[in-house]
Symmetry: C2
Subunit: 354 residues, 2 copies
DNA sequence: GGCAAAAAACGACACGTGTCGTTTTTGGTT
DNA sequence: AACCAAAAACGACACGTGTCGTTTTTTGCC
């Protein structure tokens, strides 16, 4: 009874769809792509049929015709890092608002080349790296991307250089932490898990150094790290082990700075199990401000990463790079951190500074 | 000096690649796809050039030619649920071993149709749902997938029926928990956050009921829920609120079963803050067996989801469905849970059972 | 009813790949 | 040198889309 004479169960192409609507393929095409010179009634008819059938043009054919896909590849180190997951989650949401699809991949150390090749074969518009990667391997990936004139962006681990990056200003973050604790009377600081070659770590050490010097303290004396005594496997467990080692020391720092919240919580429980009171006997600072911070007693003070700003800047940068021609110009952005003071930080005990 | 006379900076097609190697396009193509009748030396030459240039055939062109893409779409409710993230992480890993790409998307309640359309436009080979979804909306999605003869799989929330599913046997899980606690002398149980319309919840209530009856107890008396007293926002906070409400009761259960670990930890801290000793005064069971369980004192007993089995079965099911023609046959799998006993569970206090 | 303008249809091409049948070249053997 | 089979090259088609110039149909107006 209705117009369409051929009504295939599944519509596979614009040709079939056009036949179903009773229009020509070109008319449907320009209706779908918003070209001018169409009667409003026709546009409505196409739209109605679109809603009714749920037809969507084959993305592969669309992307094959265009030079570049409306996709952004995201390489992650892991799904176990809650902060990285939060970032990719927000990033996907924001990119989708811009009409961009996000293709999330875990970049395994061995098969990173293969994974990147996969993204390149899909002709993604850009590739984003989130997390920690082997510096030389990352540099190779970025080099390959550049050779394929595909823009890239590294979030949080800029690496040795030559990469576009957006990252938290970790130097400033540690300066803020130290400044705050010094103002509270602390003069000796234990570092929990802040060691290694990643720039996310070396930046923090730089910040600690600067702030200590600015306060007239000698970093070699005022900052203590026992990281080398243990092998890092699980963050939480590592925090416990380090705390135990500090407990065995004769003279102990009055404040502790952890590489992340898990490590801080591990240390906190160990200190408390030894009968120490927090924050009366010692102060403790986490990093990342995860939900976990609310689940300890007292609640954990931490550094907030300001993920919203990080992602907003990242998206803006990406859009600019995708839109324009590829330039050799390297862009770098720093996002300001802020401290979240909770129950694990307080004045230094007595005059026990040093 | 070398053979290739034309060496474009970027190789964009097999034609350019073939010219670069000094072979014809068809020869290169059959070398790439492992066709017989080629000299080993030629194959090696192609492979070497492949490694050297990093060229990968345009995936869109490949997928355009084939009927179906070697991609699997994964719809998630959220990235904030650690268990769901763990599942998608393992799923992606396993699917990649099978040569399948995973496209992860968050299915926002409003724009779920649009997101699914996006996956369909990419002609994915299958769509997996992980998490909790609105039943009617999920049913509509599955219906649309079936109309497009695209296989689907729902992990963990089978919904009202008519969907292929792989999920933890939550009925059995709660039976195991109750059986264990009854054997320890517990006769009255508090339910923390186990309420709502999702099947992942109703299944658990069924399990509680069955096990209680089997133990000769009346579920209406032995199982107490105060969920309706509070609005659920954050799991941890909800656990705290519920514990406070139980503390205000005259007669209290001796054992508590939480909907997840976060809720359990919230309750644990509240009970302890009130001076109750765990497990001497009360027992507490979490659900999911996350890392968080190790971060409390005492450590939290919990139900392990057996994610490896879940994903293994899921991958097997998916491969079968992708390979064969679409059938109307619905498949359902249940994965066995197991209990992880830690410090928050013990014998019921005195004879205070009832 | 006629006429011009607007709307729609038509037809063809390009995007990059896999495949297949046919033709040409290569390389080894008699 | 001749021959023959293996190896490579050649040419063409299909996949589904966007676009564009051209032709046909519809619409609106006098």
């Amino acid at each position: 009874m209705a117009k369409p004479r051929t009504t295939p169960q599944v519509i596979r192409s614009t040709a079939e769809f056009a036949a179903h609507v009773g229009l020509s393929r070109s008319t449907v095409s320009r209706a779908l792509n918003g070209h001018p010179g169409l009667k409003q009634k026709t546009i409505d008819r196409v739209q109605a049929a679109l809603d009714a059938t749920g037809f969507r043009p084959n993305a592969h054919a669309v992307n094959l015709r265009g030079r570049r896909a409306a996709m952004v590849g995201v390489c992650m180190e892991d799904f176990r890092n809650p902060t990285a997951v939060a970032k990719v989650s927000l990033l996907q949401q924001r990119l989708r608002e811009q009409g961009l699809t996000t293709l999330i991949e875990v970049l395994a150390p061995g098969s990173s080349r293969q994974t990147l090749g996969h993204l390149l074969s899909l002709r993604v518009g850009a590739v984003v790296f989130i997390g920690h990667f082997d510096p030389s391997e990352l540099a190779a990936q970025i080099d390959e991307l550049t050779r394929h004139s595909t823009p890239h962006l590294v979030i949080d681990d800029p690496g040795p250089g030559g990469a576009n990056s957006v990252s938290l200003d970790r130097v400033r973050a540690m300066e803020l932490v130290i400044e705050h604790l010094v103002a509270q009377g602390h003069r000796s600081f234990g570092l929990l898990g802040i060691s290694g070659a990643f720039q996310t770590v070396t930046d923090r050490l730089t910040g600690v150094d600067r702030a200590l010097r600015a306060a007239g303290l000698d970093p070699a004396v005022a900052a203590v790290s026992l990281d080398s005594l243990h092998v890092r496997r699980d963050h939480f467990e590592y925090g416990s082990l380090l705390a135990r080692s500090f407990l065995a020391q004769r003279r102990r720092p009055t404040a502790y700075l952890a590489v992340n919240d898990d490590t801080a919580v591990g240390a906190l429980l160990e200190f408390q199990a030894a009968g120490l009171r927090v924050p009366e006997d010692l102060s403790l600072f986490g990093f990342n401000n995860q939900n976990l911070c609310l689940m300890t007693r007292p609640k954990l003070s931490s550094v907030d990463q300001n993920i919203e700003d990080t992602i907003d800047v990242s998206v803006k940068t990406l859009l600019a790079k995708i839109g324009s021609v590829v330039t050799r110009r390297i862009t770098t952005h720093r996002v300001a951190p802020h401290l979240v003071l909770r129950g694990t930080t307080g004045p230094a005990p007595g005059n026990a500074g040093r």
